[in-house]
């Protein structure tokens, strides 16, 4: 049994069916990439896993450590060890980063309140590691941030919250090469036996920095092909039309 198991997952928003039977298994210590053309359902999958209220699961299940999370609220899923690195993190003016981080770290602390000293030390160290200006801590969350700053902020959270499964939803979009390298540096520091990672992207670029062991291709709401690193290269050379041709041939 895998640590995160997605079984025959169907989901819709309003009347639009987007996921039509996704199967995926991710264990701690593994790095998976999920690729697919625009509109294939990649971002929807990450939203459904995290519990976004706009999506409804109509069939199938998501199991984390053997237990279904479908009835859990987003905050419960987060505390159970899930983390979503947002493609478009919202800005929340008036809520400072330090206040936000403290509240989120407190929520994970067994006594409901993390000691301030070690918390600040860890946050400073992680901000250093990600080349973030420490003055950021007093700013409103994502307020007036550039694309690169927002993504660093997401990675900083991932480093602070120490999830067991992290999903990176098109973290590479809108990043220049320098920002991408910093993001990859943070992610690679987190890699290890305690973290399972799902990297969602539609460019191969990020995968040269965060090398996956597995690649899955999502099309029209289903995982249609899975493979190892060699599949990344094949896809890069031949594009999604090649995948479609392969599928047509097998049918």
């Amino acid at each position: 049994m895998a640590y995160l198991e997605i079984k025959n997952l169907h989901a819709r928003t309003g009347d639009i069916k987007i996921l039509k039977g996704v199967n995926l298994e991710i264990n701690k210590g593994e790095v998976h990439a999920l690729m697919g053309p625009n509109g294939s359902g990649k971002s929807t999958l990450s939203s459904v896993i995290m519990g976004h209220p706009d999506y409804e699961v109509t069939e199938g299940d998501i199991l984390l450590n053997g237990e279904s999370i479908l009835e859990m609220d987003p905050d419960e899923r987060a505390l159970a060890g899930l983390f979503l690195c947002f493609q478009y993190p919202v800005a929340i003016p008036g809520v400072s980063i330090s206040n936000f981080m403290k509240k989120a770290v407190d929520a994970r602390h067994p006594e409901g309140k993390a000691p301030a000293g070690p918390f600040l030390k860890e946050m400073r160290e992680n901000m250093d590691y990600l080349d973030m200006d420490k003055a950021f801590a007093n700013r409103g969350l994502n307020e007036g941030f550039s694309g690169g700053e927002k993504k660093r902020m997401e990675i900083l959270q991932m480093m602070m919250f120490k999830p067991s499964i992290a999903i990176m939803d098109e973290t590479d979009s809108g990043l220049d090469i320098d920002a991408l390298q910093v993001v990859a540096k943070g992610v690679n520091k987190m890699r290890g036996p305690e973290l399972g990672l799902l990297v969602i992207t539609h460019y191969e670029r990020i995968l040269t920095y965060i090398a996956p062991q597995f690649l899955h291709i999502l099309m029209e709401g289903k995982v249609v092909m899975s493979g190892g690193p060699e599949l990344v290269k094949k896809l890069e050379e031949n594009g999604y039309d090649w995948v479609r041709d392969q599928l047509a041939a097998t049918v």
Partner: protein, 439 residues
């Protein structure tokens, strides 16, 4: 073209018992300067038509809600009351308290001893600073504007203070004026005149309270005159009990390189109408107008602002943030006015509203009247409940729903509250928001 005025009347328009008899009793035994000022204000007050619901300014705030005729002026004894310290007073250099027991002025840090800073009742100022008071009492009004309630206050004020900072005064703690009215059926009419000479820097807070279930009215008038490069902050906290009625008029004139911050925080009382205006009248004059209001349980709060640019190269920024719930009703109306030839003006007007349930209502009417070219003026208003994407984001980080909502409401108001120069007031406002928000 005037922006707020009604045509003047030939027959005197009087409100409730605010007539010549009351004027005479207010003038009785006073210094000649104050008598003359009261008479001038009375004449203007009587000429301005009584507000009614057909006037644009009162369409969303029926003036009858104030039941002015049912109130008589609060008696404030001439004898000084004993000063009673509260822990928060350590935040201030000077604390004035006003109640039905009298007036107490406490110089906590000895800032009044060398005479560079003057804080005294208006009647004492009339004797000791006659010329300056003559020039400043009633002088901060934007030219051409007529304000019925400011003139009413000018004619009938029953407690008044003069704050005068001589050149270069830099006050660390600030001045608090605490008004408490526990006498049912009475009206408090406080007047404040602030004169800031060049290069002064100080902050003033006024706080208004009353016990719950005691019907009171307050008609407040404040004026601030800032000379070159002065930096003055005024915070007004309307924190009345549930039967308090409040009308406030704040007006500031800001000269070259000076900066005024005018904060209006309305959280208590039953009905409140606050008007805050400033004339940035010389180049590089700057005004910040910050406001918050939170109307719940049938509270009706109305706020009006005027950013008046009578000089080129002047700046103003206004941010009013409101929340409504449980049949609360809030109104914001505001105007940015730039006169002819006032190029290089930079002015913003923003009103954001949190509408927390469907029983509550928030109206917003921002406006611009611009008679000059080559300037930047903008206005905007927003309405909405708590943003669902922001809520989802916080929850996806493990923060429970109740706490996430609390953080978002606090964060919404903190954009204004964090700029208040008094930490104890920030804490107080946070506590009020927690209580009203119900967490």
């Amino acid at each position: 073209m005037p922006t707020l005025n009604l045509p003047l009347t030939d027959t005197p328009s009087l409100l409730g018992g605010f007539d010549e008899t009351l004027l005479e009793s207010a003038r009785k035994g006073e210094h000649a300067l104050l008598q003359a000022k009261r008479t001038a204000a009375y004449d203007s007050y009587a000429q301005i038509p009584n507000p009614d619901r057909f006037h644009e300014e009162y369409r969303r705030m029926d003036p009858d809600l104030f039941k002015i005729a049912t109130f008589s002026p609060l008696e404030i004894p001439e004898t000084a009351a004993a000063y009673q310290a509260v822990p928060e007073d350590s935040n201030y250099d000077v604390v004035i308290s006003v109640s039905s027991e009298g007036i107490a002025i406490e110089d906590c840090n000895g800032v009044l001893t060398d005479g560079s800073l003057v804080v005294m009742p208006l009647d004492q100022a009339a004797r000791e600073h006659t010329t300056l008071l003559e020039q400043s009492l009633g002088a901060a009004m934007v030219p051409g504007e007529q304000r019925k309630f400011l003139d009413l206050n000018g004619a009938f004020w029953n407690v008044g203070f003069f704050i005068y900072a001589k050149k270069g005064v830099d006050l660390k703690g600030g001045i608090l004026i605490r008004y408490h009215n526990d006498q049912a059926g009475t009206v408090l009419l406080p007047r404040l005149v602030v004169v800031a000479e060049s290069l002064t820097r100080f902050a003033i807070a006024e706080q208004f309270t009353s016990p719950d279930d005691v019907k009171t009215l307050c008609i407040s008038g404040r004026e601030l005159l800032l000379d070159a490069a002065a930096d003055v902050k005024l915070v007004s906290l309307q924190d009345w009990g549930n039967e308090g009625l409040h009308i406030g008029e704040d007006w500031a004139r800001v000269k070259r390189d000076a900066k005024v911050n005018l904060f209006s925080m309305t959280v208590g009382g039953k009905v409140s109408k606050m008007t805050v205006g400033c004339d940035v009248c010389e180049p590089n004059a700057n005004a910040y107008l910050g406001g918050m209001f939170f109307a719940d349980r049938d509270q009706h709060f109305d706020q009006k602002t005027l950013q008046y640019h009578s000089s080129a190269d002047t700046y103003s920024n206004m941010l009013y943030k409101g929340a409504v719930k449980d049949n609360g009703y809030s109104v914001y109306q505001g105007i940015i006015r730039a006169l002819k030839n006032c190029v290089g003006v930079d002015s913003y007007q923003t009103n954001n509203n949190l509408v927390l349930d469907s029983t509550a209502r928030a109206d917003s009417l921002p406006g611009l009247i611009i008679d000059a070219d080559e300037l930047a003026c903008s206005h905007g208003a927003t309405f909405g409940n708590i943003d669902q994407e922001q809520l989802y984001y916080l929850r996806s980080r493990g923060i429970p729903e109740g706490e996430a909502r609390r953080m978002l409401v606090m964060g919404f108001f903190d954009e204004v509250i964090e700029r208040i120069p008094f930490e104890n007031m920030q804490d107080h406002l946070h506590a009020v928001i927690e209580r009203k928000f119900g967490v």
